[in-house]
């Protein structure tokens, strides 16, 4: 006979998804969760409000733990599974989407292309120092007039003897003004190429984007390349098409599939605690049917999103994950996380709009996450094309 347990389930892991994780994966997660609770959560509300980030200290701490480029092999990287990387993203984003973005950009967008498409010399020069956090990287693909359609970019690189001269501007670049090296994608006569540009190269400058009402604990910049001259061995030799930047984005989107669930979990936990403590009409608001509906909807959304992420994580480690499946994860988990954040905000009532609680911060952050790394709409069209065979992009 099947035994059914009547113990009260863990409200945070209702389906016991933990049982799908290995001991090593749980240890990685516990390390990041512990770190985030001690070093990020107590300060993040203030950082967010003031629009600051102690990036040097964080980069060093992330490097010490091994978070930067953690799923890459060699060159000072930890070489964990993709699943472990995903779980780390989840815990970081339970702290704040900006914190997870910092790690995503360094590992998936800056280190990954060097690791995947770089020369041996480029890997030796950059990766070990990027893994420790000594060197910060950024990724320049998007432009002010070239977002969802990146191949329309205007930034270009032209040959001048054995050198390259690069001109153009890049927009919405995370870590742009604090980076030591920028991975810049530019049009060339031979297709789209990636350039590793030290940010102290003459002609390279970065201006921070101010007045953000989302992802405030994160540096976002505009990069200006005005006749930036670099030698030929600053070009990534391994790729000369949109496949280069898109493969990086796939790595980062994989992390977001997990990360968004971290933000959602933090909102759900906050709302659950609040609804039990907050009394109206003489009893906890969690005892009202309308509130229970919200709590259960949030719990189910978080659990379902976690299952999707864990499934994609297993496929990535097996080498069977497709980019359309990554689109599925990014598309569904981020939109659901945003819904969870909004529902949590309604449970917290007026308190839900203050930074004393994490909810409004996550909610505002997730508006960015909804749009960056492939908008919700673009991922819809990716999957639409996958199931119909018909291209609806153009």
């Amino acid at each position: 006979m099947t035994q059914i347990s009547f113990d009260r389930p863990d409200p945070i892991d209702f389906l016991d998804i933990d049982s799908l994780l290995s001991e090593e994966e749980k240890l990685v997660r516990a390390t990041v969760r512990d770190y985030v609770e001690k070093e990020i959560v107590p300060h993040i509300g203030d950082w967010w409000e003031e629009g600051i980030l102690p990036q040097e200290q964080l980069a060093k701490e992330f490097g010490d733990i091994g978070l930067l480029g953690m799923h890459l092999e060699g060159y000072g990287c930890a070489g964990t599974s993709a699943m472990a990387y995903g779980l780390a993203c989840l815990e970081l984003e339970a702290g704040d989407s900006g914190i997870r973005s910092f790690v995503s950009v360094q590992g998936s967008l800056a280190m990954f292309p060097i690791w995947k498409f770089g020369s041996e010399e480029q890997k030796q020069i950059w990766l070990p120092r990027m893994a420790t956090g000594e060197v910060i990287g950024c990724f320049g693909l998007t432009e002010a007039d070239s977002g969802s359609d990146p191949s329309s970019m205007r930034t270009n690189a032209k040959r001048d003897g054995t050198d390259w001269i690069i001109n153009g501007t890049k927009m919405w670049i995370t870590n742009g003004s604090i980076a030591d090296v920028a991975v810049i994608w530019a049009q060339t006569d031979g297709g789209i190429r990636g350039f590793l540009i030290p940010t102290d190269t003459p002609g390279f400058s970065a201006i921070d984007i101010k007045k953000k009402a989302s992802l405030r604990a994160s540096v976002t910049s505009e990069l200006i390349l005005d006749n930036v001259r670099v030698p030929d061995d600053f070009v990534l030799p391994g790729v000369s098409s949109m496949k280069g930047p898109l493969s990086c984005l796939n790595e980062a989107r994989f992390g977001i599939t997990f990360g968004a669930i971290g933000a959602a979990r933090a909102c759900y936990e906050s709302a659950l605690d609040y609804s039990i403590e907050r009394h109206q009409f003489g009893k906890p608001i969690a005892s009202f049917q309308l509130t229970q509906r919200k709590l259960v909807d949030m719990m189910v959304a978080v659990q379902r999103g976690t299952l999707i992420a864990v499934h994609l994580g297993r496929r990535k480690d097996d080498g069977t994950l497709t980019s359309e499946q990554v689109s599925f994860g990014k598309f569904d988990n981020v939109r659901n996380a945003l819904e969870v954040a909004r529902t949590a905000r309604s449970i917290l009532g007026a308190n839900g709009i203050t930074l004393e609680y994490p909810v409004i911060r996550h909610m505002a952050n997730l508006e960015t996450v909804y749009t960056y790394e492939g908008t919700n709409e673009i991922h819809t069209l990716v999957m639409g094309q996958a199931i119909t065979g018909l291209n609806a992009f153009t």
């Binding site: 240890l27 390390t31 010490d64 733990i65 091994g66 978070l67 953690m70 930890a78």
Partner: protein, 252 residues
């Protein structure tokens, strides 16, 4: 320098503990974590080993389960682990535990033994001193600061008034308090390497000790619930009520 750190795997304090019917022994699930208090000892051991070109060997007794707690300490950077596990040791009292640990440590060899002051599941708080006695080395206890160098160790021993500075020649045993140092996070490289580090399993027969546990748990009782605190509504005079309360308790 050869540093041995005693650690214990305990059930996650966030989960409810259950006691075995009849013996009242703590039921130990397969999944146990590193006793939080032991992270300090591991950190002290690692710092001393790093400063003295030494090694850190972990020694632990109890059902190994899936070994997660031990691997947590290996992931922090310890070099190897010795696990003492034997059905005959179930329900061991403090002296039997000390005998088993001391026998394993003697076999391994050591310059310095680091232990926590007490475990946070059993709380007997006497195992380190017993081990020191059995091994014939000085016990430096309640350490809030530890420095070890060529041939000697110096600690600050916490007292009611402040601290005593205590020095001993090596080999010696030091029992550290929680908070003595800030324990490091396990690094991901450490986590990846922990799987490959040697873990030796020892039984009572391997240690050549006799198990004569004389202690039984006669009865257990629920801890008395804490009484609710007293709320003072501030209508402008709350400070006077608080001062009166503090005076009544002779705090001020």
């Amino acid at each position: 320098m050869k540093v041995v750190v005693c650690i214990k795997q305990i059930p996650d304090p966030a989960t409810p503990y259950t006691l075995e019917e009849g013996t009242n022994w703590l039921v130990r699930p397969d999944e146990q974590i590193l006793d939080d208090g032991d992270r300090y000892g591991v950190e002290v051991g690692l710092q001393i080993a790093e400063a003295n070109e030494g090694t850190v060997t972990l020694v632990s007794m109890g059902p190994s389960g899936n070994g997660q707690g031990v691997r947590q300490a290996l992931a922090m950077g310890a070099d190897k682990a010795i696990l003492i596990e034997d059905d005959a040791l179930r329900g061991s009292d403090a002296l039997t535990t000390a005998r088993a640990l001391a026998a394993a440590i003697k076999e391994e060899g050591f310059d310095l033994i680091i232990a926590g002051t007490e475990s946070t599941d059993g709380y007997s708080g006497v195992v380190p001193q017993m081990m020191a006695e059995l091994l014939g080395v000085p016990a430096l206890t309640y350490a809030t600061k530890v420095e070890a160098g060529e041939g000697s160790v110096t600690i600050h021993r916490q007292t009611n008034a402040g601290y005593d500075v205590v020095n001993a020649a090596l080999p010696a045993l030091v029992a550290v308090t929680a908070g003595v140092v800030e324990p490091r996070y396990p690094t991901f490289k450490g986590i990846m390497d922990a799987k490959k580090k040697p873990v030796d399993n020892l039984s009572v027969a391997d240690l050549g000790i006799e198990v004569t546990s004389d202690q039984t748990v006669a009865s257990i009782a629920e801890a008395t619930a804490r009484t609710a605190g007293q709320k003072i509504e501030d209508e402008g005079e709350a400070h006077l009520a608080i001062v009166a309360l503090l005076e009544e308790r002779k705090v001020i």
